[in-house]
């Protein structure tokens, strides 16, 4: 379980910039083509999983990921409340900018969320999941 | 005050989520939790009373979120039944939380999960949109399985896992039915569906969605072949008693509420009243036969829940107005006395440190307050005169015709036999223990039982306050039913004395439990039988 495979780690080292690029492309083009925050975030989460597959020791600090995710969650809640419920004037450019920012925030949040779930399974497999 | 329905749903959920992030010293924890609970519950009670009086004066509140036109967006609708159930659930959650505050070991996580559950249940009662109901029930399933599995020992792990997987499967069937309905009609809103389905040309195409949705709803409200998950989930040994009270009192009623709504939508298309009358009767009989053969206090109470739900379903399918109101009032009554019984059972288990009904004796001498509350709830559930159970059973049997009257008498005799067995814990000579129960602990139980008493004496004003109908019982009929109560009590006592305590029914009952694969097979068989029945008989 804890020894790494040479073939996979070399190949993942080659692949992960491409996966990163595809994920960012799907997120950023969410307002014009299929995709958006959710799917791009799931693709980005595989980058974190790749890091574990390449280097299976327990040195990722989950605590900072969790703090980051909670900040993103509160931003995702605050932004529509501030912008939409105060009727800031909507023209074409600010519509697209709003969609872009929401897509990026949701993509980052989904990515951190899924990688936290994966790391919790992997690190605490021996019990003691509920701190 | 246009958005009050949204606030009623969102306020507990947000508070519960923020409470989960709370980290503070132990000595301060209890005070903070008490303050938050009292503040939250009184705000919710005030809000729901306001909505109730508003609906009584000005008719149903319909609120479209986002100000979309009707039938397009998500709607929240509050009519008389919905608001009455919301009020009932907020009352019961208050008592359950006060009971939980008096436990010896308090954790903030249980309270945050309970608050989130309260918001979700209020949302299920007021939402008018099928997909909204689906999302809320799925989240409630996850929260409840976390609560069941809270202490993580052997038995509760299995029960929590079974509960989660069975309910998710049932909700997948429900969503598939919604998908088929959406494909045919293009509407997901309940009022819009009712209008469209009354003029829908091709009725044969509606059988499969109706069968799928009703299988899921029947699993959530525990009718005959599909109730194996319920007793172990409600009465699992290490869950806090407040959880059992909430689950058995309120959450299983949300399944029946969905049954009401879906029957209302499809009432012009299919006529399935006879099927649910038979299903209700068989469920009630199976419920009390399994309850009488149990040795564990909480499992006995959980099986008697199944029996009462069978009676409620009979009342709702009798095609008469008085039986319908009787069934709905029995939902409210059963919530009150079943929660009271579960909370007293929790107190007794904590005092005697055992759950076996043969080892607990003599509660009446040692803890008189708890025993009085227990006795009043038992009188309520068996339908003694002057208590609320008798009023609702009177109205159900008022609308019954033919064989249904005798069926109700048989179910009553069975219920009395169960509670005769339960009340043996009150008498006799108990073990010598030194346990005193603090006054605060017995306070919520006492108040609940007093409300049961009031619900019977003041039944006319309460029914007209909650449901806006005027139902006054005929005095001669009522005295006749009281006489019938005493005769059935005699028959039940004879039955108990000479038949039940001699035969060992426990072995037979424990062989009839189904595992996970059995539950899924029974779901498939139920779906097929329902589709065949509707195709042949009810078109």
């Amino acid at each position: 379980m804890n020894d790494k495979s040479f073939l996979i780690s070399r190949f993942i080292g080659f692949m992960y910039p491409i996966i990163l690029l595809i994920g960012v492309y799907i997120i950023v083009n969410g307002h014009q083509s299929p995709g958006g925050g959710f799917h791009g975030g799931a693709v980005l989460a595989t980058v974190f999983i790749c890091r574990y597959l390449e280097n299976p020791n327990q040195d990722l600090r989950i605590h900072y990921l969790e703090i980051f995710e909670k900040i993103l969650f509160s931003l995702v809640l605050l932004l529509p409340v501030i912008l939409l419920f105060n009727n800031i004037s909507m023209n074409v450019i600010s519509n697209k900018a709003y969609l872009l920012i929401m897509n990026i925030l949701i993509g980052l949040k989904v990515c951190t969320g899924l990688s936290i779930i994966f790391y919790r399974f992997v690190f605490y497999e021996g019990g003691g999941l509920w701190n | 005050m246009n958005n009050i329905l949204i606030y009623l749903v969102l306020f507990p959920i947000l508070t519960g989520s923020f409470l989960g992030l709370l980290k503070c010293k132990k000595s301060l924890k209890q005070r903070i939790l008490t303050i938050i609970t009292i503040f939250m519950q009184s705000a919710l009670l005030a809000g729901s009373f306001y909505v109730l009086t508003f609906v009584k004066n000005s008719g149903t509140i319909i609120q479209n979120i986002g100000n979309w036109p009707d039938f397009i967006g998500i709607t929240l609708k509050a009519d008389m039944y919905a608001v009455a159930f919301v009020l009932m659930s907020i009352c019961l959650f208050t008592f359950a939380m006060i009971y939980q505050l008096t436990e010896s070991h308090i954790e903030a996580r249980i309270f945050s999960l309970l608050l989130i559950l309260e918001g979700l249940i209020i949302g299920i009662f007021v939402s008018n949109d099928l997909f909204n109901i689906f999302v809320l029930i799925e989240v409630a399933t996850i929260v409840i399985s976390l609560l069941i599995m809270y202490k993580k020992d052997t038995i509760s792990t299995y029960d929590g896992m079974l509960y989660l997987l069975v309910n998710i499967t049932a909700m997948s069937l429900f969503l598939f039915g919604i998908g088929m309905l959406y494909k045919m009609t293009g509407v997901i809103d309940l009022t819009g569906l009712k209008d469209i389905l009354s003029v829908f040309p091709d009725k044969k195409a509606l059988i499969v969605p109706y069968g799928l949705m009703l299988t899921a709803v029947c699993l959530k409200s525990a009718v005959l072949p599909l109730f194996s998950w319920l007793p172990h989930a409600h009465a699992t040994p290490s869950a806090p008693s407040a959880i059992s009270a909430v689950l058995s009192g309120i959450y299983v009623k949300s399944g029946i509420y969905l049954f009401l709504r879906i029957q209302n939508v499809f009432s012009d298309v299919f006529d399935t009243y006879f099927l649910f009358l038979i299903l209700g009767f068989v469920t009630a009989v199976a419920g009390f036969m399994l309850a009488v053969s149990q040795k564990d206090i909480k499992l006995l109470l959980a099986y008697s829940t199944i029996s009462q739900i069978g009676m409620i379903m009979m009342g709702l399918s009798m095609n008469s107005v008085s039986a319908y109101i009787g069934g709905v009032y029995h939902i409210v009554n059963h919530a009150f006395f079943k929660s009271c019984l579960f909370l007293t059972a929790g107190i007794i288990i904590d005092a005697y440190k055992t759950r076996n009904i043969d080892s607990i004796r003599g509660v009446f001498k040692k803890h008189p307050i708890v025993a009085i509350a227990c006795v009043i709830s038992i009188l309520g559930i068996t339908g003694a005169p002057l208590l609320n159970g008798s009023i609702s059973k009177y109205w159900i049997s008022y609308g019954a015709k033919g064989w249904a009257e005798y069926a109700l008498i048989i179910i009553n005799i069975g219920t009395m036999a169960i509670f005769l067995k339960f009340s043996t814990i009150l008498f006799g000579k108990g073990p010598d223990i030194k346990m005193n129960i603090s006054k605060i602990r017995s306070l919520p139980v006492l108040i609940l039982s007093v409300m049961c008493l009031l619900g019977g004496i003041l039944s006319e004003p309460i029914i007209s306050f909650l449901f806006n109908v005027q139902m006054s019982p005929n005095l001669i009929d009522y005295l006749e039913k009281s006489l019938l109560f005493f005769i059935s009590l005699g028959i039940a006592y004879l039955l108990y004395r000479f038949v039940i305590s001699k035969v060992n029914l426990y072995k037979i009952a424990s062989r009839l439990e189904l595992g996970f694969n059995g539950v899924c097979i029974s779901m498939g068989v139920f779906l097929l039988v329902m589709i065949l029945y509707i195709r042949v008989f009810a078109m």
């Binding site: 999941l129 | 299995y158 499967t169 996970f516």
Partner: protein, 117 residues
């Protein structure tokens, strides 16, 4: 009429998943079957009224045949619910495995009955 449409495939996959729930005794296989049923429902919803010449409902102008956006929005919610449910079920399974030592429904049922008496 066409035999391989979205609806027919999704009904087939749904009942394959349901049959797997009835017949398989491993807990992980039951969780996988629930995932299969949810995927089938997603395909069913997305194929409501869809035909090959529909365009996506973003930036569409005028008289084009637009695909229905309502089921797509509902299904995003449903995918997220599916992820949450699978995560909860798997973490509960880890606890169950440590308690019982087996991943089989029948053996766990027997162990539960024995520890009850």
């Amino acid at each position: 009429m066409e035999l391989i449409t979205g609806e027919n495939i999704s009904i087939l996959i749904f009942f394959v998943g349901f049959a797997g729930l009835m017949l398989k005794r491993n807990v992980i296989k039951s969780i996988i079957c629930i995932g299969i049923m949810q995927v089938a429902i997603i395909i069913f919803f997305l194929s409501v009224g869809l035909s090959p010449e529909n365009v996506p409902p973003i930036d569409a102008t005028g008289l084009q045949n637009v695909a229905d956006p309502l089921p797509q929005a509902l299904m995003i919610t449903d995918i997220v619910i599916g992820v949450g449910v699978t995560a909860t079920a798997l973490s509960l399974f880890i606890h169950m495995y440590h308690q019982f030592g087996t991943a089989d429904w029948e053996k766990a049922f027997k162990l539960r009955k024995d520890s009850e008496e």
